[in-house]
Symmetry: C2
Subunit: 423 residues, 2 copies
Amino acid sequence: MTTAQLADSAVSFGPAVALSCRECGARIPLGPHYVCVECFGPLEIAYDFHQPGRPAVTRELIESGPASIWRYAPLLPVPADVAAKPNLNPGWTRLVHARNLGRELGLRKLHIKDDTGNPTHSFKDRVVAIALEAARTFGFTTLSCSSTGNLAGAVCAAAARAGLRACVFIPAGLEQAKIVMAAVYGGELIAIDGTYDEVNRFCSELIGDEAGEGWGFVNVNLRPYYAEGSKTLAYEIAEQLGWKLPEQIVIPIASGSQLTKIDKGFKELIALGLVEDRPYKVFGAQANGCSPVSAAFKAGHDVVQPVRPDTIAKSLAIGNPADGPYVLDIARRTGGAVEDVTDAEVVDAIRLLARTEGVFAETAGGVTVGVLRKLVETGKLDPDAETVVINSGDGLKTLDAVADAGVTATIKPSLAAFHAARG
Amino acid sequence: MTTAQLADSAVSFGPAVALSCRECGARIPLGPHYVCVECFGPLEIAYDFHQPGRPAVTRELIESGPASIWRYAPLLPVPADVAAKPNLNPGWTRLVHARNLGRELGLRKLHIKDDTGNPTHSFKDRVVAIALEAARTFGFTTLSCSSTGNLAGAVCAAAARAGLRACVFIPAGLEQAKIVMAAVYGGELIAIDGTYDEVNRFCSELIGDEAGEGWGFVNVNLRPYYAEGSKTLAYEIAEQLGWKLPEQIVIPIASGSQLTKIDKGFKELIALGLVEDRPYKVFGAQANGCSPVSAAFKAGHDVVQPVRPDTIAKSLAIGNPADGPYVLDIARRTGGAVEDVTDAEVVDAIRLLARTEGVFAETAGGVTVGVLRKLVETGKLDPDAETVVINSGDGLKTLDAVADAGVTATIKPSLAAFHAARG
């Protein structure tokens, strides 16, 4: 990028002022970068919410905004007019007061943040919307990603609407629904013989290749922007609770980015005086078959030992989670924990959530609700504290997990047949 | 019901004051009835929006309400506190400004009302929410329906959340996703060897049987309440357009109820002074393999000749549509039309919508967008008029229609393999 382009970019990123290294704190101008040149640490967005000429961010300002993540535009690395550009306008999903599930588990105040209402039915629409805007600003013409499935669909849908090309990469062997829901939007969908971690490494290589020129990989070279999208989960939860933070929150862990950004969002709300400063505990959820962060937490380690995933929760099957160490920090700092459940417990939890609240989660949601249950049973959650659990994706994308749910009986259209079938 | 219960009911139904026969105009008190005892015509809800003691329904009142159909509670047969009772809080879904699709079709101002954002990803959550509230008021303990798939899921999810039993009836041979998405909520799901019309007849029989006592069939004995839920599509479209009616609207036809209630909603908004009184044209969409209303429209008939459905658009596969004659009336009165498309055109339209707007519709949405295209091509739609098309359900529920959408290539994780695969 030229200097003039960089100056334009500064205007385009709203309250964001720089990229900052999460490890050494070094700052560089906003650009399509994701690794610190000083120490190779990950870069994230730094903000100045009190720049002269920008309106103060108040509850009223937010409440007067659109029913999408763009109500929080003043807290995101996007221009003020972002909602006017073609995108999927995700967010502002339901916060479900889960009285039935709470009763079964013994939690007095439980809410489910149900992100299945997003345009492609997972929380990934949030992060992609921010990355798309950055891609436009940087002049990228192809939107790309490495994905465990949901992200591929979100990227292809967003690119279709924005008029960008899409070329996305997934591990071979994903659920059919996730494949179709990416391919149907007309982009290129390339399966890689290998795990997600191998797909991810391949994408990093591709960025350095001539073929990757002009490509915005939402979760690689646009990752600092992309990751900020998860903050909107924190903002929405707080606003929907009546501008207060939950006391406990249970969050699925894939790369760990969602968890770290929800924590960042809560801290921003406190710093801006939008919510009362009160303690909250952050809990992470993994599937037993891909639980490197949970294992490190339990062992008291600061580093995460990569694993080769083997679980039905494919959208959480990241064996080498980039934000694993930060997740450990946050869980320990807030007094939370990281826990894991077996695939059988995942399936049980999907059914439990559906039966009690009418919410049909994908396997990732089963992991999170399963861990919620385990945390209650092992006394790690306070049953009287206000608790939120994230449902990040949709049951329609992982039907195989509950494929034995079928018709009770097949009968002829007669009362006699009906009575006979019911015994 | 006792007289006391009926009096309570009157309080519970907000602005609704009676059931009124659509044919002869006879009125009876609000109750779980659906057929006129005078003439056997269908009953619908009659309102008095100007009852003493009720607040005037203004734009401001509505805009200050929740981001769900309950913002329109003052226009629905529900109590004022309906949002506080356990339900799925559907509605307030996206109105997508479809610039890309409009450009391809030659329509200058096109919007998609995308109802896939509802909790079970179809517009059926709207109608079920109203029926659920009526079921509670009438003391029903089992929620039931005859369904082509989407309704079964919506009923089972709503019943789960409300703590009612569910027992729903579907024709055998539905899509796997629709079966699982009903069964997972834990109710009884009974498949009937026969068409939807046979399922529907069976349910009418069951209401008269001892086994059906205490059962609320949302689209049979609760139908007058249920049907009103579709009015919320009209309200939302008008509000999201900035409190004005579209000039043209294209709506899928199954029973025809959605179309007739959108028309009713528009007329109410005009009568209440919430929008300017300007003409609008209503267009209906059917699949060629189940097009009795389209056939009657084209032949100039007032009655609809039942057919045996044969189409991939199973959620529209009602061969004997109850509201068919009313649909014909509305299409003719407003200067609209009813049109149908082949299954191949349905698949093309699903892909067109996905590729241009990032919206993945089920086959019913394919029918509606396919008809939209046909209406433009045949000159029946004004390309300069503000046009809305309804997307009533989700592509994830009818994956088979686009099952050939798959990965572009499967490769080893290397740049060499990538370049080789792309040629």
